[in-house]
């Protein structure tokens, strides 16, 4: 599903953010990507959804070399990947419904189909009662769930979440991971970046650990 071959990333005039990364992620896997701040977690995720380009190496997404995708065709890749951002990246002046519907609207889906899909997705993340609320008027935990709903509504093959529990308390964090597990059960490949070891210990999944841009651990389904 996702393969990294000797991937390097160096930002302009700075140290290497990623160094010689080799990894393979199978379809339907649930992975925690961990490491200290600045370890390169976000950079690795950005390479997957092509927000950044690798300085060296190849990345295959569903057998397609992502470095060869031209800018004009990038939307095709992005429609296969759902992304949950650390800062949510929601449109605060729009309703919950409007935010969740965006990935379907940009594809030109029909209004009735969009409505039906938004309702079922909001039910999945437990936000049906907030549908007509302005996003700025709901809590941080609820905003996080809106972001998850938006990421999964388009039936992506891959879901990427960058510190999805970073701003939440333990109870809410567990709730969010449980929602993500439910989504993963539908066959969506899941890569969750987090530095919360307690959370990782609670959910026995594959763990990939980065340290100063290097892959230092790739361990399957055990507590660290």
């Amino acid at each position: 599903m996702i393969q990294f071959f000797h991937v390097y990333k160096q930002y302009f005039r700075s140290n290497e953010a990623l160094s010689d990364i080799n990894l393979s992620v199978e379809r339907g896997e649930f992975i925690f990507l961990t490491g200290a701040s600045g370890a390169g977690k976000s950079t690795l995720l950005k390479l997957i959804y092509k927000e950044e380009e690798p300085s060296k190496g190849q990345i295959l997404i569903d057998s397609i070399n992502s470095t060869l995708i031209p800018p004009g065709k990038l939307y095709k890749l992005r429609r296969q990947i759902g992304i949950v951002f650390q800062d949510f990246k929601l449109m605060m002046n729009r309703t919950v419904h409007e935010n969740v519907a965006i990935p379907l609207l940009v594809r030109g889906d029909k209004k009735a189909a969009v409505e039906k899909k938004v309702n079922s997705t909001l039910a999945l993340v437990g936000l049906s009662h907030r549908k007509r609320y302005l996003t700025s008027h709901i809590s941080g935990g609820e905003q996080q769930r809106v972001a998850i709903a938006r990421a999964v509504i388009g039936n992506p093959k891959i879901l990427i979440a960058d510190e999805p529990t970073g701003n939440l308390d333990t109870e809410l964090s567990i709730e969010i991971i449980r929602i993500l597990e439910k989504i993963n059960a539908r066959g969506i490949t899941m890569i969750i970046a987090t530095h919360d070891m307690n959370l990782i210990n609670l959910f026995p999944k594959r763990i990939i650990k980065l340290d100063k841009g290097q892959l230092v651990l790739d361990k399957a389904s055990e507590a660290v």
């Binding site: 927000e51 939307y75 990935p103």
Partner: protein, 300 residues
């Protein structure tokens, strides 16, 4: 269809969201279109006036004594065959004398001194009503003048030439001012779209990340420029009409001088639509340039 409806809705929302900036922009576009519009209007009216005057452009070719009628007939055919010529007529020596007698009966005694008509035969030519052909008319006359049967030619094009000069000056001044103001206009719309892109940069980024195509993102901004330009053109057309109507009331002195040259009663539809189309084109072009400059399609 759905895509366009959404893009138009989005563009209108953008315009209404930044009311102050957009209405200011609209005013400036209208003003920048109004100035060339005024010059275009003056030029249009002068053109009509020259056309009206040109209906009377007439040349009289006086013929040499003793020419035979075969040569005259040939010359008449040659003149008649030219596309610039509307009407051609021949006045014989006797006919010229008769006309003189009819027009100036009190001077008949002068003619008593002559045994034969003292007036030369002539060919009278009326030209078509297209003042842009003044140069061609002159060249045609010079050509005919070379003929051995022609003694001299009488033509008065001075007034048409002077009006044409004024029109040329008005067109040049209009073009020069228009060029400057249109550049200003493009710069303003460019910056308005830039501000709107900046205002919506997070939203644009989100749309890109959820898989929106470039056109899905860019179309509302393009339409925004188009709508602003279109409305600016409409406003400029309205302002020009008001200017035309108000001018005779508030500038009576100038009005009395120019009222023969300029028709203050109506605004030709052609000029109105030219302003609207120019405004729309400027709006579309400026936003296109702004988008190329400020919306990145490449990652990173």
């Amino acid at each position: 269809m759905k895509f366009m409806a959404r893009a138009v809705q989005q563009a209108l929302n953008n315009i209404l969201r930044n009311k102050t900036v957009n209405f200011l922009c609209l005013g400036i576009i209208a003003f920048t279109l109004l100035v060339p519009g005024i010059f275009n209007y003056i030029s249009f009216n002068l053109d009509s006036y020259i056309s009206k005057l040109s209906e009377n452009i007439e040349a009289i070719f006086y013929l040499r004594e003793g020419d035979n009628s075969a040569d005259i007939e040939k010359m008449l055919q040659r003149i008649q065959g030219n596309l610039l010529v509307k009407e051609v007529g021949f006045t014989s020596k006797d006919r010229a004398q008769m006309k003189f007698t009819q027009e100036f009966p009190e001077l008949q005694y002068i003619l008593a001194e002559f045994s034969d008509s003292p007036f030369p035969a002539s060919i009278n030519v009326k030209f078509r009503t297209d003042a842009r052909n003044v140069v061609q008319i002159e060249s045609f006359i010079r050509d005919i003048e070379k003929s051995s049967i022609i003694e001299s030619v009488q033509l008065n094009l001075d007034w048409a030439r002077k009006i044409a000069m004024i029109k040329k000056f008005a067109s040049f001044a209009g073009f020069f001012l228009s060029a400057i103001l249109l550049i200003v206009s493009i710069f303003i719309i460019f910056n308005v779209v830039k501000i709107n892109i900046f205002y919506r940069r997070d939203e644009i980024n989100i749309l890109r990340l959820v898989g929106a195509t470039d056109w899905y993102i860019k179309t509302p901004f393009l339409l925004e420029g188009l709508i602003l330009g279109f409305l600016g053109g409409l406003l400029a057309g309205g302002l020009l009409l008001v200017t035309i109507r108000v001018f005779p009331v508030y500038a009576k002195f100038i009005f009395n001088i120019v009222k023969q040259l300029i028709d203050f009663r109506q605004l030709p539809l052609r000029i109105f639509w030219e302003m609207v189309i120019t405004g729309s084109a400027i709006g579309l072009f400026s936003s296109f340039i702004s988008l190329r400059r400020f919306i990145k399609t490449t990652p990173g």
